[in-house]
């Protein structure tokens, strides 16, 4: 467990301050950026971050950067940028105050100090957090829990009516579809040809197709049978015309069809 020191002294986490001074100058890669380095330098002053001298801190940072350069260590640009800014801050702090300056050097110094405090606080908090008794390392949950399981069991619901109705639906749906056409009386084409040709044989002049139909009484009164007879007689007339036994005329569209025999 990492010993957690006082909250505000800025010390925490790994105790790198114990490192030798010369080690410090070879450790440039060990810091996570200039703020981290500044915090480490601040810790070396061994004073509360709230009362730390920013001027001393700036000096420490600039000295460090100079030494690193003397050792020809490659410095990341942001370290140099920070160095330049700190040099500017230092001169602003030392020179007579320019009232127009905004923000004032003191304010900038204060902000830097506050940032270091925050980072220091989080670093220390991280140390204390990691040093807590941790589950799986210091304290343990039950090694072999039986586990809880809830088996969801469905209680299926279905009524007698649902069942029987479903069967009815299946039967209705799966019944073979049969188209029923009732047998009905018709005049066949053969009988129509016979009737028309025999009537034509005795006719003297043009005859309307409708006159070839049987008289409309008894069975032949049925309009459906009459329609069949008309259709069959028409086809018979066409057939007789095709075989050269009759000729057909129609004076106007949809007008009456007239037939007469072709004399051989």
């Amino acid at each position: 467990m990492i010993e957690a020191p006082g909250l505000f002294d800025g010390w925490g986490g790994e105790d790198r301050a114990e490192a030798q001074d010369d080690a410090l100058y070879l450790e440039i890669d060990g810091w996570e950026g200039p703020l981290d380095l500044l915090l480490d330098l601040a810790r070396r002053q061994k004073v509360d971050l709230r009362t730390i001298s920013i001027l001393e801190l700036v000096d420490a940072y600039l000295t460090y950067i100079e030494q690193a350069e003397a050792l020809r260590l490659e410095l990341a640009a942001d370290y140099l940028v920070m160095a330049a800014w700190l040099a500017y801050l230092k001169s602003a702090l030392l020179l007579p105050r320019d009232e127009a300056e905004d923000p004032s050097p003191e304010e900038m110094a204060l902000r830097l100090q506050m940032r270091l405090q925050r980072l220091g606080a989080m670093r220390e908090a991280a140390g204390r957090l990691m040093g807590r008794n941790r589950l799986g390392r210091d304290v343990f949950a039950r090694g072999a829990p039986e586990g809880l399981r809830v088996d969801r069991k469905s209680l299926w619901q279905c009524s007698w009516y649902d069942l029987v109705r479903a069967y009815g639906d299946v039967k209705v749906r799966s019944e073979p579809v049969v188209h029923m056409v009732r047998e009905r009386m018709v005049m066949t084409l053969d009988s129509a040809i016979q009737r028309v040709s025999s009537m034509l044989g005795v006719a003297i002049d043009w005859m309307d197709l409708r006159d070839f139909l049987p008289p409309a009484h008894d069975t032949w009164a049925d309009p459906r049978l009459r329609r069949s007879a008309l259709a069959s007689s028409f086809v018979a007339a066409l057939e007789l015309a095709r075989t050269g036994k009759a000729e057909i005329v129609q004076d106007e569209t949809f007008g009456p069809l007239r037939l007469r025999a072709v004399k051989p």
């Binding site: 343990f140 039950r142 039986e146 469905s154 209680l155 279905c158 009524s159 069942l163």
Partner: protein, 208 residues
């Protein structure tokens, strides 16, 4: 009595060790784990015994199995580990149809059910009916492929208040009860002869 209230450090250590252990531990293993060395079993045994006494009557027990100790749920509470939760669920339409077909045609294979329904029947549908306890596998049909055949159960008869399957209404009764009544006009027309014949006689009057 006081010991039960404030166990000594050894008892506490044994308790924590057994609690955190992933497998049952022998007295020797516990002793070794707590740094008593190989011969420390004698020192931890009284602590184990005290723990076992302490847990008597509680929700968990310290039990010995083959000289090794572990905590387990009290037997009378074992039902808490595998709890069953019952949910009322309405049988789906497809499942109801399949159930009806099994009832009317049993024993029946899945292919036959599909032929009657005119649609494929998901395997899960029959599983649901078997889970409900209404349908059972009744063997295999002795035809090529030896398909599994299904039949209803006594639970089915009970649930639907039937003495035997013969009490299910026949097709004529279904019709009389209006259970074959139109669901779909066209379908009905296809089935109910006379109405159709009349209609086809007057094709002109058909709006279709």
């Amino acid at each position: 009595m006081i010991a039960a209230e404030a166990p000594d450090d050894l008892v506490r250590a044994v308790e924590a060790t057994l609690f955190a252990a992933e497998e049952p531990m022998s007295a020797e293993q516990i002793a070794l784990h707590l740094g008593f060395g190989e011969k420390g079993a004698g020192q931890v045994r009284p602590a184990i015994a005290e723990l076992a006494r302490h847990y008597e009557g509680r929700g968990i027990l310290l039990v010995e199995r083959g000289k090794r100790w572990h905590f387990e749920t009290a037997p009378d509470l074992a039902h808490l580990l595998r709890r069953e939760k019952e949910e009322l669920r309405r049988l789906s339409r497809a499942a109801t149809e399949v159930l009806a077909i099994v009832a009317y045609h049993e024993p029946v294979s899945r292919a036959e059910i599909e032929a009657i329904r005119g649609v494929q029947t998901a395997k899960g549908t029959l599983d649901v009916l078997m889970e409900a306890g209404w349908v059972r596998v009744a063997g295999r049909r002795e035809v090529p492929g030896r398909p599994v055949i299904y039949a209803t159960t006594l639970v089915f008869l009970d649930h639907f208040g039937l003495g035997t399957l013969r009490e299910l209404p026949g097709i004529d009764e279904l019709r009389a009860a209006g259970l074959l009544d139109p669901v779909d006009e066209d379908m009905i027309e296809a089935v109910l002869g006379p109405a159709n014949v009349r209609k086809t006689d007057e094709p002109e009057s058909d709006p279709d």
